[in-house]
């Protein structure tokens, strides 16, 4: 059952008492009842720029909630607790995300927050959580700058970008003869920017020459100038990061302006089905990295014991669409929470935080072990490629479904 709460009574009263301000508003705040459910707060971008991503989160949240409650709930300190995920739409608006985090904690009295989609919005929500000593689980923030603020209440299931990029550089060096020059081009926004920086650093560390390394600001409509510069630099590998709409355009303009690089990597591009749909044949050959792919096979704790179990459930819930890493990571985060609650044995924020910090388990999503800064330390993240308009896994070898195909004339 979906549980998208609409705080009607409070707000209607607010309207009725516009002139006397907030007096009556406060009367609506009920006193805390003795708690017999685990409450999880989730500000989601259900409208606005990140709506598509927000809806993905909502989908797996609902799946998990149903799955756990059908099994009778979670056993905490010898008692079975049903779970309730309380979701609000923050409209892809930073200040709203903060406001909602505060409302979830103070009015809905949630025990844990699930961070919203964007890295920036994750920071805002986690900051509120930290004030109230409520743990925040982030399933779609991978930039280390989000975790570098010494917030002991923030945990993330994605592993640091650097883990990804170093593996990518190694893989390409092994599989592409004569790889020497790389061009890096990224959107000036938290996640793409840190991926671009990490890739440039990893490439240099790996002995590659970075021949182009630039960012484009939010609001860029066209990439011809940058791509002409990239063409002139004659790279063997073009690495671009940004939102799907940017990457579709960049891929197209790379082709239009005659880029000859044998490898084009786009992050997160191919990890989303919209990318391949938007580009058609042009998507073929584009490589990417992702934190999770449904062809991995892990066994572990929680609502879904195996990747297969999650995948099957997901297909049923989504009407046949494949899950991407957002789905995997967010479901994985809830599975970790499930485990941590059992170990914490209480609903106290501090106890849950400690249990999360001590986590060292394997889930359907993969191994999870939060490091010093709260980020998952997993390695061996999948490298994928679009072949024949479908996603193939190239790495790690244990789950590879295809060999790297080079883009060449």
């Amino acid at each position: 059952m979906s549980n998208r709460h609409l705080p009607k009574p409070r707000s209607q009263r607010a309207l009725a008492t516009a002139t006397t301000g907030l007096v009556a508003l406060s009367l609506a705040v009920g006193s805390a009842a003795a708690q017999d459910t685990v409450k999880i707060g989730a500000p989601l971008a259900l409208t606005g720029g990140l709506a598509d991503e927000g809806k993905k989160q909502a989908l797996v949240y609902d799946m998990w909630e149903k799955k756990v409650n059908d099994a009778g709930g979670i056993e905490i300190g010898g008692k079975m607790y049903p779970v309730e995920i309380i979701e609000y739409d923050y409209q892809t608006d930073g200040p709203r995300a903060g406001q909602l985090a505060e409302r979830l904690i103070t009015e809905d009295e949630v025990n844990v927050l699930m961070a919203p989609f964007g890295s920036g919005h994750t920071k805002i929500a986690a900051t509120v959580g930290q004030r109230y000593r409520i743990p925040t689980l982030a399933c779609v923030a991978s930039s280390e700058s989000v975790y570098s603020q010494g917030n002991p209440y923030l945990f993330g299931t994605l592993s640091p970008n650097a883990n990804m990029t170093a593996a990518m550089v190694e893989y390409l060096k092994e599989n592409v003869d004569g790889l020497s020059k790389v061009a890096v081009y990224g959107r000036d926004d938290v996640f793409p920017k840190s991926m671009a920086a990490a890739t440039a650093a990893a490439a240099e560390a790996g002995g590659l020459e970075v021949v182009y390394n630039e960012l484009y600001p939010v609001g860029t409509m066209d990439h011809a100038a940058a791509i002409s510069s990239i063409v002139a630099a004659e790279p063997d590998w073009v690495y671009a990061t940004g939102y799907t709409q940017d990457l579709i355009l960049i891929r197209r303009q790379l082709a239009d302006l005659g880029v000859k690089a044998p490898v084009i990597t786009m992050v997160t591009g191919p990890a989303y089905v919209e990318f391949t749909e938007g580009l058609g044949e042009l998507a073929n050959g584009v490589t990417s990295q992702t934190w999770w792919h449904h062809s991995v096979a892990y066994e572990g704790e929680g609502a879904w014991k195996t990747t297969k179990a999650f995948y099957d459930d997901f297909l049923a819930a989504s009407g046949g669409e494949d899950p991407d890493y957002v789905h995997g990571s967010c479901a994985g985060a809830l599975v970790v929470l499930e485990d941590a609650l059992k170990r914490a044995g209480s609903l106290d924020g501090e106890a849950i935080r400690q249990a999360l910090a001590d986590t060292d388990i394997t889930t359907f999503y993969g191994p999870i072990n939060f490091g010093e800064n709260g980020m998952n330390q997993a390695r061996e993240l999948p490298i994928i490629q679009v072949q024949d308009e479908a996603i193939e896994v190239l790495y790690p070898a244990s789950i590879a479904t295809a060999e790297l195909e080079l883009l060449s004339e």
Binding site: D52, L215, P217, A224
Partner: protein
């Protein structure tokens, strides 16, 4: 870096900018209204073109006149019903009103079309001329943009309605005395502005991924193009569009893409202060 390639990039992009801005410029020049809806009109045109292509396989070039006609009706109606009531009010009022209307249109589009980027993929590739790459879709877009802009110019110059629009633009009260029904001309002008936006949207669906999030970007470009080129005149939009395309192209290569947008806006601010009539503008609007 190849100078010819940078220039070609700028000119092709500039023609698209001109097409994007010309309707906005016309409305501003004739009605003295800053139409905040313009960006969303373009997006609407783009979406309609995309869905016609995706669902019924209708070619964007066939959709273009249909979308343009549809948006003319939308624009005409919005002007006749809403904007006309405050058309003589200060800019704060008209701007805020069109912003409010834009919020409604934007919301409708996000609900019915979602924020997923959509693009018509024709896969035409590019041609190479003296070592300069020219994407065919963009060349087509540029040709159409110039054609549309030219058509508008000819219409304004040659037709009865066009002459009436120009008369209203020059002197509203004199035009009224001459028996021109000013309100009708306003609605037609606003309709033509929307029509040009719709046509630009149909073009853009072939060139750019269309998403509602881009409406603000398109609107911003229209501002800059109008101020650089000069208001209310078709040649102004053309010059402004080409100038912006070339400025962005060169600054993107020389200063890096991070600063290309900033340079465009700075040129605009500078021109606002030094020469508010724009590069080819005429005096007369405040």
């Amino acid at each position: 870096m190849d100078f010819a390639q940078i220039l070609a990039n700028g000119v092709v992009l500039g023609a698209l900018y001109a097409c994007l801005a010309v309707g906005f410029s016309l409305v501003w020049g004739v009605l003295n209204v800053i139409n905040m809806l313009h960006g969303s009109f373009i997006i609407l045109g783009g979406y309609l073109t995309y869905f016609a292509w995706q669902m019924f396989g209708i070619h964007p070039l066939i959709m273009l006149p249909i979308v343009a006609a549809f948006l003319f009706v939308v624009g005409y109606a919005l002007q006749a019903i809403f904007i006309n009531k405050v058309v003589t009010a200060p800019v704060l009022v008209t701007l805020t009103l069109t912003f409010g209307l834009d919020m409604i249109l934007y919301n409708l589009m996000t609900v019915y079309f979602s924020a997923t980027p959509r693009q018509v993929t024709l896969g035409l590739g590019s041609i190479q001329l003296f070592g300069v790459y020219l994407p065919v879709v963009r060349l087509l877009g540029m040709a159409l943009a110039l054609l549309l802009t030219g058509l508008l110019y000819v219409t304004l110059r040659g037709s009865r309605i066009g002459r009436a629009i120009v008369a209203v633009r020059m002197d509203r009260s004199a035009a009224a005395l001459m028996g021109i029904r000013v309100n009708r001309i306003y609605a037609i002008t606003f309709g033509i502005g929307a029509l040009m936006a719709g046509a630009a949207g149909a073009l853009f669906a072939m060139v750019f991924p269309i998403t509602t999030n881009l409406s603000g970007v398109f609107l911003g470009k229209a501002f800059v193009v109008c101020v650089i080129g000069g208001l209310g005149s078709v040649p102004g939009a053309l010059v402004g569009g080409l100038a912006l395309g070339i400025i962005e192209s060169f600054s993107g290569v020389l200063l890096g893409p991070q600063h290309a947008l900033t340079v465009g806006f700075l040129v605009m601010l500078l021109l606002l202060i030094v020469r508010p009539t724009g590069l080819v503008g005429v005096k007369g609007y405040e």
